[in-house]
């Protein structure tokens, strides 16, 4: 087999390339049987492969606090601009982030059998405080497709008023995936 110039591996004294020995690790040929360089290289590569498998299977974990530190930093990044006014009788007012609304509405959609909510964009409506516009993308299973959209609309409407306290002015649903069964 011709030596592949692009691999630029090390050439053994016999002229063979280490990558060639690697590629043929589980076979052998006449040259290799007689060549001490190739035999030595092969033995070393077998050790390397075995240790690589051990390393690949290793599941050393970071310290238990790492996830918590990451998520604290993530939560601190919610932006002020994404707040939606809630109806409130008390001075000072109340607001909820668009992300929190989206989480509640996605959860509601997920409760419909065979439905998985994906993207969910929320927009407050400028001249209509306490009302929102929702654009949601979902995946639905074949088995549950019939009637799913109506059920989802009902659940989302109910969640908007009952779970949050805002009025659903408009809902755009897009089914971008269907799955078995």
């Amino acid at each position: 087999m011709a030596v592949n110039q692009t691999t630029e591996g090390y050439e053994l004294p016999c002229g063979r390339d280490v990558e060639t020995v690697w590629a043929r690790l589980d076979e052998t040929d006449a040259h290799q049987r007689d060549c001490p360089h190739c035999t030595a290289a092969r033995q070393s590569l077998l050790v390397l492969r075995s240790l690589t498998e051990v390393m690949t299977a290793d599941e050393s974990a970071p310290s238990p606090g790492l996830t918590g530190r990451i998520m604290s930093a993530v939560r601190a990044e919610v932006r002020r601009g994404d707040l939606v006014e809630l109806p409130s009788a008390e001075p000072g007012g109340a607001r909820i982030s668009e992300a929190a609304i989206a989480a509640v509405l996605r959860f509601a959609a997920d409760q419909v059998p065979g439905v998985r909510a994906r993207r969910c964009r929320i927009h407050a409506i400028e001249d209509d405080p306490g009302a929102i516009e929702v654009r949601m993308t979902i995946a639905v299973s074949y088995r549950h497709f019939a009637g799913a959209l109506d059920r989802i609309r009902e659940r989302i409407e109910a969640a908007a008023t009952g779970r949050i306290g805002v009025r659903l002015a408009r809902l755009d649903l897009t089914v971008d995936d269907v799955y078995q069964p």
Binding site: A73, R75, A76, E77, V78, R80, L83, L86, P87, S88, A89, E90, P91, G92, G93, A94, R95, I96, S97, A99, A100, A103, V104, F107, G162, R163, I164, G165, V166
Partner: protein
């Protein structure tokens, strides 16, 4: 910031630091039904975020008043609270409860008028 408390005793002045007002607000808010926790998202990063020698971001003084900011003066306090609510209660209802509880607790403890309490819900925890 400190706020002067009214006092009936001549020659006696009292002040309360805003961190104390914040701590009272924190206690009232976290004790409100439907509130999971306060969340230092937008306000109340007491101390600043600094980089340690290893380049990690860490809060210099992680005081319990994270999630609350107190402004205003003795004519009226303005308190902002950031929190996470439970999915079991209607968010707007919980927010109203927090506004009332914070205003009442701070007024009862300090005698100061609370002009407004603004609640921002940053997350809703759906598993609880």
């Amino acid at each position: 910031m400190t706020v002067e408390l009214t006092s009936d005793v001549p020659g006696c002045e009292a002040h309360v630091a805003s961190q104390v007002i914040a701590a009272i607000a924190v206690r009232a808010a976290t004790g409100t039904s439907g509130v999971i926790r306060l969340e230092p998202g937008l306000v109340g990063l007491v101390g600043s975020l600094v980089r340690t020698a290893r380049g990690q971001l860490t809060r210099v003084d992680p005081a319990p008043t994270d999630g609350v900011r107190v402004t205003g003066d003795q004519n009226g306090l303005r308190i902002e609270v950031d929190l996470v609510t439970s999915g079991q209660d209607q968010v707007a209802a919980v927010a109203g409860r927090v506004q009332r509880a914070v205003a009442r607790s701070v007024h009862d403890a300090t005698g100061l008028p609370v002009a407004e309490v603004t609640v921002s819900v940053l997350d809703v925890e759906l598993s609880r």
